[in-house]
Amino acid sequence: MPDVTTEPAVQPPPRQARDPEARATAVRRPPGRRWSRLDLAIGLALLVGVLLRVLLFGQVAHTPFSGDEVAYADAGKALSNLLRDLVSLHTPDTAELSRDVIGSGWFMPGMALLLTPLYLVAPHAGPEVAHAWLGFLTLVVYVLAIAEVRRTLGRWWALGLAMVPGLVPMWLLFGYTAYGDLLAGLVATLLITRMVAVLRRSASGTPPSLRDGALLGFLAITTVYLRSSSAPLVAGIGAVGLLALVWAGRRALVPVLLASGIFLAVLAPWSIAASVTFDTRVITTTSVPMALANSFGDRTQVCYGMCDPGSTLWFSPVRYAREVSRATGASEVTVLGQMSAYARRNVTAHSYARDVITDWHHYIDKPSAFLFKLHPPGDRDRGVEQAITSWTQRIFTPMVWLAAAGLLVVTRRSRRAQLLSVLVKIGLFGLLLQPFVHLAGSRYWTTAAPLAALSGMLAIWSVGTWIRGRVRRSERGPVDEPSRLLTLVQAALAAIGVAVVVVIQALA
C-alpha cells in the first residue's frame, strides 16, 4: 500500500493559482495517469458491493421499522409536518414536535433530518420506500468517503475501504436501516480523511481555508447528530485539529473558529430545544445516566426498587422519572441522574471491569445478531441468514485483529501516515469508549467498521513499507517530513490502549 509515501509532499501553491478549486487540484492530484488499474479495481469492488446491496434488499424491503428506528422515523415524520405547516402558514403542532422529535431526549435528530425529505413528499411511505431511500443515501455517503480517501490517502486505501466494510453483507444490510450508527461511521471517516489533508497542508505552511473550516465543522456536527455517542470521537478529532494552529500559526485561527462556530451553531437548536423541554441543561442526549445504571448498576434498584414490569429497561425508568417529576416539579432528567447514582451505589472497580468485559463481548461477538430483526416479516430463510452470518464473520474477525494491530502502529514514515495513524487511533478509541459507559449492542460495530478498516490497512501498510524498506534501502527517503510530536502521540495512544486492556483484565 505505497500511496501514502509515494505521493509528493505538498508544495506551496503557485502564486497565480488564486482560485481555490484550481489550487486544491494542484495540491491534491497525484502525479502520473489520472486513472489507473487500481481505479478499475476500486470501481469493480464498488460494483460488486452495489450488486450485493441490491441482492440483500429483499431481506429487509418489507420489514417494518422496529425499535429505535420507529423513533427516528417518527421524528422525520414530525419534521416533515413542521415544514408542511410552515409552507402553508399554519401553526406548527408543537405537541407533536415535542413528543416525536425531542421525545425522551434519547436521540439527536440526524436520521430524522435525512428521513424528512422522504416523508415530505410521501407522508405515508411504507417500509420498502423508506429502506430504499436510506440505502440510497448510505451508498452516496459511502462513495463520497471512498472518493475522499482515494484523493487524500491514495488508491490502495480507497480499494481497501471499497472491500471492507463494503463487501460485508451485514454492514450492507444495516445500510437500509434507520439506525444512525453506520452513517455516523462513514461521516466520521470523511471527517478524519479531510482532517488529514488539512493538517498535512498546515504542516507545510498552507493554512486551512475558510471552506476547509466550514466543511470540517459541518462533518463534525453531522457525525454527532447521526449518533450522539460519537461525541468523544469528534472531540478527539477536534483536539487534533488544533495542531493547525501550531503548524500554520495565526493564519489558521479564523478557519478553526469557523469550524467551531458551525459546530456550535448547528448543535444549539437541538440543545436549546431539549434543555427547554426538560427544564435543565441538555447538550446532546439525556440517556447517559440510565445507560450507566443499566450497564453497571443494580437493575433491581433503578427505581429505588424494581421499576414497573411489562416494559423495557429503558422505558420503565423514564416513566418512573416522569412520575417523580410530576410529584416534585423537578426535571425528569435530574431525577434520572439521581436514580442512576442510587442504582450504582455498590459499583466496585471489580464489578465495573467485569461489566465492561461483558459489554465488550456484546459489542463484538455477534456482528450478525441483528438478523433477528432484519428479515422479511414472518419468514426467516435460514439458508440466506447462514450465508450472511458466515460471510460477515469471515471478514469481520480478521478485520478486528488487523484493526487492533493498527492501533499499535507507530509510524515515522511520513507526516500524512502519522496524521492518519493518530486520527484513526483517536477515532476508534473514541468509539470504543461505548462499552465503558453503555450497554453495547450488536449494531454499534457498524460505526467503527470503516475506521477499523483504515486501522487494519495501516497495520498492513506499515509491515509492507518496512519490508520494502529493507529490500530497497533508502531508494526513496521520507517524502513528507515526519513529526516527532506525532510519533510521541501515536506511542502514547498505543500505550494507553494496551494499559486500559491490561487494567480492565487485572481488575476483573
Binding site: A71, W106, V121, T300, D308, G310, R319, E323, Q338, M339
Partner: protein
C-alpha cells in the same frame, strides 16, 4: 458559458429549485402520522385517577408516587396493600403526615409502615417508602378517564405474568 459549465459552477441552483418545489407540493399530499410510541403520554396517578380511591377522608399532602397497589390475603383477611414512595421529606415528617391522613379516615397508626431508604444520597428527591394496609376497594366507574382504570401503568395493579423490565434483549 455552456449550460453544463453553468450547472457545474452553480450546482446548488437546481437543488434549491427542487427543494422549493418539494416544499410547495408537501401540504397537498397529506400529513405524516408519527406513532408517538417512544414518548407515550404519562399515565394518570393511581390515586388521582379515582379508579381505586383512598378511604373517605384520607388525602396525601406530600409528594409521592405509587409503586404497587392491589389486594392481598393477610392474617386478618383480604385487604388492600398500597405501596408508595415519599419525596423530599424525611421519614419522621412522612410518618407524622401519613398518620394524620389515616386518622382523618378513622384508620389506626399501624396501617402505615414508613421506611427510609438506606444510604440514600443527600440530594435524592425520593427518600423512602410507605406501605399502607387499607380496606379493599372496588374499581370505580364514575371517573373522568375510565381508560386509565384498565391501564396497569396507571393503577399499578400489574398482572402477575408481566415480566420484570430488567433484561436486555
Amino acid at each position: 458559458m455552456t449550460a453544463i459549465a453553468f450547472l457545474r459552477r452553480r450546482w446548488y441552483l437546481p437543488l434549491a429549485a427542487l427543494v422549493v418545489v418539494l416544499l410547495l407540493i408537501s401540504p397537498h399530499v397529506g400529513r405524516a402520522e408519527p406513532t408517538g410510541d417512544y414518548r407515550p403520554a404519562l399515565p394518570a396517578d393511581a390515586i388521582a385517577s379515582g379508579c381505586y380511591p383512598l378511604p373517605r377522608g384520607m388525602t396525601i399532602d406530600f409528594p409521592y408516587q405509587v409503586r404497587r397497589d392491589g389486594d392481598v390475603n393477610g392474617p386478618h383477611g383480604r385487604h388492600r396493600r398500597l405501596v408508595l414512595q415519599y419525596d423530599e421529606i424525611n421519614a419522621a415528617t412522612a410518618r407524622q403526615r401519613i398518620t394524620t391522613a389515616l386518622h382523618r379516615a378513622g384508620l389506626p397508626d399501624s396501617a402505615a409502615t414508613v421506611t427510609s431508604y438506606p444510604r440514600i444520597p443527600s440530594d435524592s428527591l425520593v427518600r423512602g417508602e410507605i406501605v399502607l394496609t387499607l380496606p379493599s376497594v372496588a374499581q370505580q366507574t364514575d371517573v373522568p378517564d375510565a381508560a386509565q382504570c384498565d391501564n396497569p401503568f396507571s393503577t399499578k395493579r400489574f398482572p402477575p405474568a408481566w415480566p420484570p423490565s430488567t433484561s436486555y434483549a
